[in-house]
């Protein structure tokens, strides 16, 4: 056993000793966990510091007349623009347009990935049929397919949503297949020896055992959805945050471009937090298994 620094152990009230090698390794990898409040303070400080630097930079551009200040708007200008759009109602139209595409596109992508990935992971026969096709398409960067989607489906909502479905399908499909394949064969043996029939085995053992990795894939899928929606909204969109950015570029509205970008970041962060919430709720067992 190895002693932690005593005051650290005492503060967390968990005793002074690391009780196992895994704990020691995690401690070594992550460093000593900070007390919660201090961690929060550091995070908030970092964000405020970044905003201060940004303000300073944009202020210096104005003061020293380095270049046209229109190119680097300060955070307050950006916030002002976002508030202005929020008050006149335009902002919500764009946010909702983007969100709707992401939700529908990602949702169908996830459904398709599960509908194909679960059987492909479970039945080697299905895997041998589905995987080569997926492996053939996967190395093509999804963005290369965007113009094709527009040619096939047209410039409207269909191509944007379809494109998100297509792009998000791959990581979610692959993690789902892998997750099902990785299920401990001993768990399967244990369940069969307790009398599990094939569908019971799937619902009560394979699915819960694969869930953590499937959720990791879903997390990837959501991030990718926000990644590709912006680009597809650059082309032929009338609404959406990607459209706001492209529109801002045409008219040198830098605060609008930055504002839309920040909002996209916040949406991405919120969706990731939402998945984190689901994970904490459903995967309590996994967290306690890894500590």
């Amino acid at each position: 056993m190895i002693a932690k620094s005593p005051q650290h152990g005492a503060r967390r009230g968990r005793g002074v000793f690391l009780s196992s090698l895994t704990e020691l390794m995690q401690w070594g990898l992550r460093g000593a966990a900070l007390p919660r409040r201090r961690g929060l303070a550091l995070r908030a400080g970092a964000v405020l510091g970044f905003l201060a630097l940004w303000s300073l930079a944009s202020g210096l551009v104005v003061l020293l007349k380095l270049f046209n200040p229109i190119f680097l708007a300060g955070p307050w200008l950006v916030l002002g623009k976002v508030l202005e759009l929020a008050v006149n109602g335009q902002l919500w139209v764009h946010v909702w347009a983007t969100l709707e595409r992401v939700i529908i596109g990602f949702g169908t992508g996830a459904l398709a990935a599960l509908a194909l990935g679960l059987p492909a992971g479970y039945f080697p026969g299905v895997r041998k049929v589905v995987e080569p096709v997926v492996e053939m398409l996967r190395p093509i960067p999804p963005l290369a397919m965007l113009p094709l989607f527009i040619v096939w489906i047209g410039i409207g909502e269909g191509s944007k949503i379809g494109f998100i479905t297509y792009a998000t399908f791959f990581p979610m499909f692959l993690t789902t297949v892998h997750a099902v394949q990785q299920v401990d064969p001993l768990l399967v043996r244990a369940a069969r020896s307790l009398g599990a029939r094939p569908w019971q085995l799937f619902a009560r053992v394979i699915l819960p055992a694969a869930l953590p990795e499937i959720l990791t894939g879903i997390r990837l899928g959501v991030a990718l959805a926000f990644f590709v929606i912006v680009i597809s909204e650059f082309i032929g969109a009338e609404q959406g945050l990607g459209y706001l950015i492209n529109d801002g570029r045409n008219f040198f509205l830098v605060p609008q471009m930055l504002g839309a970008a920040v909002l996209l970041g916040l949406l991405g962060y919120a969706s990731s937090a939402l998945i984190g919430l689901v994970e904490r709720r459903w995967l309590r067992w996994e967290r306690s298994a890894s500590t």
Partner: protein, 250 residues
């Protein structure tokens, strides 16, 4: 009942015969230990009885019916515990009855009974990750018992535990067995463990595994590891096992 079971892995020239014509009959309520040097195929035999592996020759009969795959009438306790990590202790124990569609009230009664039997009533709501190795194995034993199998197969169930916990678990299992009178097929490489727990001990030869000798342990049900009769049985079996271990090293 194990009827002339043989197992060969691979085919042709490189094929390795692991088991040769094993014949065993396990009586109802009997605790039978299979003992042998490592690599003698005792775990393979257990896997065949469990239905995880098909035999190359011969067959296994349980209550007169031939084994074709895993089934609820043959409970298994693994060396690696193998609890369902997302289920609580109580949910693990009621897993089998739940699959059969046993009503909730009856399941609760079963779970309570078997958790009490293994002394884990206070831990019913915990997750497996929160338990020690010995406690996990108690849950696995309770889970196997609660499913009401004809026979329980145990594959070196205490092999992953430290020496002290191991003895405590042997005491526990011996006590449980006096209550339950369950038919058990128990694989181990510990002679002491076999003598402490078994009604009969089957010593296997080194590869290909055959039944070398069967010992009937006539010690009282509640055994004393330091009694002279215990030591005598232990040394008698040790002598036979050593012959086989020596063959491996020749």
């Amino acid at each position: 009942m194990v009827d002339g079971v043989g197992k060969t892995f691979g085919r042709g020239g490189g094929a390795g015969q692991v088991l040769a014509d094993i014949r065993l009959e396990i009586r109802t309520g009997e605790f039978l230990c299979i003992l042998g040097p490592s690599g003698c195929g005792k775990s393979t035999l257990l896997n065949i009885v469990a239905g995880f592996l098909p035999p190359t020759s011969g067959r296994v009969l349980v209550d007169g019916a031939p084994v074709t795959g895993p089934g609820a009438e043959r409970g298994v306790v693994f060396q690696e515990y193998v609890l369902f990590p997302w289920l609580t202790v109580a949910q693990n124990v009621e897993f089998g009855p739940r699959l059969k569609g046993v009503p909730a009230e009856e399941r609760r009664r079963l779970t309570e009974r078997y958790l009490a039997l293994v002394g884990l009533t206070a831990h019913a709501g915990k997750l497996p990750a929160q338990l020690s190795g010995g406690m996990k194995q108690r849950v696995a034993i309770a889970r196997a018992l609660a499913n009401g199998p004809s026979i329980i197969l145990m594959d070196e169930p205490f092999g992953a535990l430290d020496a002290q916990t191991r003895e405590v678990m042997q005491d526990e299992l011996s006590r449980i067995q006096r209550v339950e009178r369950q038919t058990v097929l128990f694989v181990t490489h510990s002679i002491r463990e076999a003598v402490y727990l078994a009604d009969r001990v089957v010593v296997m030869t080194s590869a290909p595994g055959r039944v070398k000798q069967v010992f009937t342990i006539t010690l009282p049900e509640s055994r004393d590891r330091f009694a002279p009769e215990f030591t005598r049985a232990e040394s008698e079996i040790t002598r036979v096992v050593k012959e086989e271990v020596a063959k491996v090293h020749e």
